[in-house]
């Protein structure tokens, strides 16, 4: 009988390991310190424990937990080193800023230079979420000043200072406000910021609601009020609740017919009655879905219900 050479080696090595492990044996019972000895013993050194397939699994788990190492972007590689005494300004800095202060860089990050319309929409969204966001108000003032809306700029700047933006030097030095430098109101706001005062707000609820009401009346006279979200985008930066309430009151008459359905009835298309029927059906579909909303969402519900019916899956929610 031949003995495999590997087996011979293994017999020798196992005898050696057995001699080393013999001191941990307690005859007739398990070693009470077995748990500690498994971690720290003379037979299996610690570094040898993480070999083989277990080591592979461990490495994979670590990689999974830690995630891929961040890839260097080409823009980072191209960024020049920061000048002495100044911090790095570039994409990485901007990303950190966005991460640490959501909303601050969002409009500017998405906006091309000079695209004030998109920027204002972004700041409007921020102000809708947080009406006391002084930096957003300040930037709206900057845009208004650059685009020549002097009074509007003064109003939003005053709001920014009222909400806590008190860096008077930044306001005075900001080139966006160059057109306001001869204005006494601008000087008063800068002085108030320097003193740490909180001036009264200029853009108040009543003036916004007055403009909102006149816009809705004008639209109704032209053929029908626009959807609520249009007005919220235009006026509802700070006073969404009031505008929603006023909109419901202004677009629903005593019979409870909404402006949209009145518009459908008045519409001069050949299928006027069909339009109305469809509008009513959408409204009912929306009611059945317990959202109670008409318009786009109702249309979406109706479409989804029809698709669900076709698929016979029975799902009727969104």
């Amino acid at each position: 009988m031949q003995v495999h050479p590997l087996t011979q080696d293994r017999v020798a090595s196992t005898a050696r390991y057995g001699a080393a492990a013999a001191k941990y044996r307690v005859v007739g019972q398990a070693n009470p310190q077995a748990r500690e000895l498994l971690e720290n013993n003379d037979v299996v050194p610690k570094q040898a424990k993480s070999e083989g397939f277990a080591a592979l699994l461990e490495a994979a788990a670590n990689y999974y937990v830690a995630g891929r190492p961040p890839r260097r972007r080409r823009s980072d590689a191209r960024a020049p080193p920061p000048p002495p005494g100044r911090s790095r300004r570039g994409p990485r800095r901007r990303r950190q800023q966005e991460a640490s202060y959501p909303g601050f860089a969002r409009p500017s990050a998405r906006t091309r230079p000079g695209d004030y319309r998109t920027a204002v929409a972004g700041y409007a969204a921020i102000l809708q979420a947080n009406p006391r966001h002084s930096l957003a108000a300040y930037n709206v003032a900057c845009i208004a000043a650059v685009t020549g809306q002097r009074d509007y700029a003064i109003g939003w700047l005053q709001n920014a200072v009222a909400d806590g933006f008190n860096d008077a030097d930044a306001i005075a030095r900001d080139p966006d406000f160059d057109s306001l430098h001869g204005d006494q109101r601008f000087a008063a706001i800068v002085a108030a910021a320097r003193r740490g005062d909180r001036p009264e707000r200029v853009v108040d609820a009543e003036s916004i609601l007055v403009r909102f009401r006149s816009a809705v009346r004008a639209d109704v006279a032209r053929g029908g009020a626009k959807p609520l979200r249009t007005y919220l985008r235009q006026f509802g930066v700070r006073f969404a609740d009031e505008i929603t309430r006023e909109y419901a009151a202004m677009t629903t008459d005593s019979s409870g017919i909404s402006a949209r359905r009145r518009t459908a009835r008045r519409s001069a298309c050949d299928r006027g009655a069909a339009c109305v029927r469809r509008a009513v059906a959408r409204t009912r579909a929306a009611r059945r879905c317990a959202h109670g909303e008409v318009g786009d969402r109702a249309r979406r519900h109706g479409r989804d219900r029809a698709r669900a019916r076709r698929n016979r899956c029975g799902a009727t929610s969104r």
Binding site: R10, G18, Y24, A30
Partner: protein, 42 residues
């Protein structure tokens, strides 16, 4: 057959890993109260 070949290629053990298994085996045996030197007679 093909599948087992793939497994064999992916998970074959090196001599170092067999050695590690032997060490752990005798250590577990000793900690459990058995005679570790008896492993050579198996």
């Amino acid at each position: 057959m093909q599948k087992s070949a793939v497994y064999a290629a992916a998970f074959r053990f090196a001599a170092g890993q067999e050695d590690e298994a032997d060490k752990l085996g005798v250590l577990y045996a000793a900690l459990a109260g058995y005679d570790p030197s008896a492993a050579t007679g198996l």
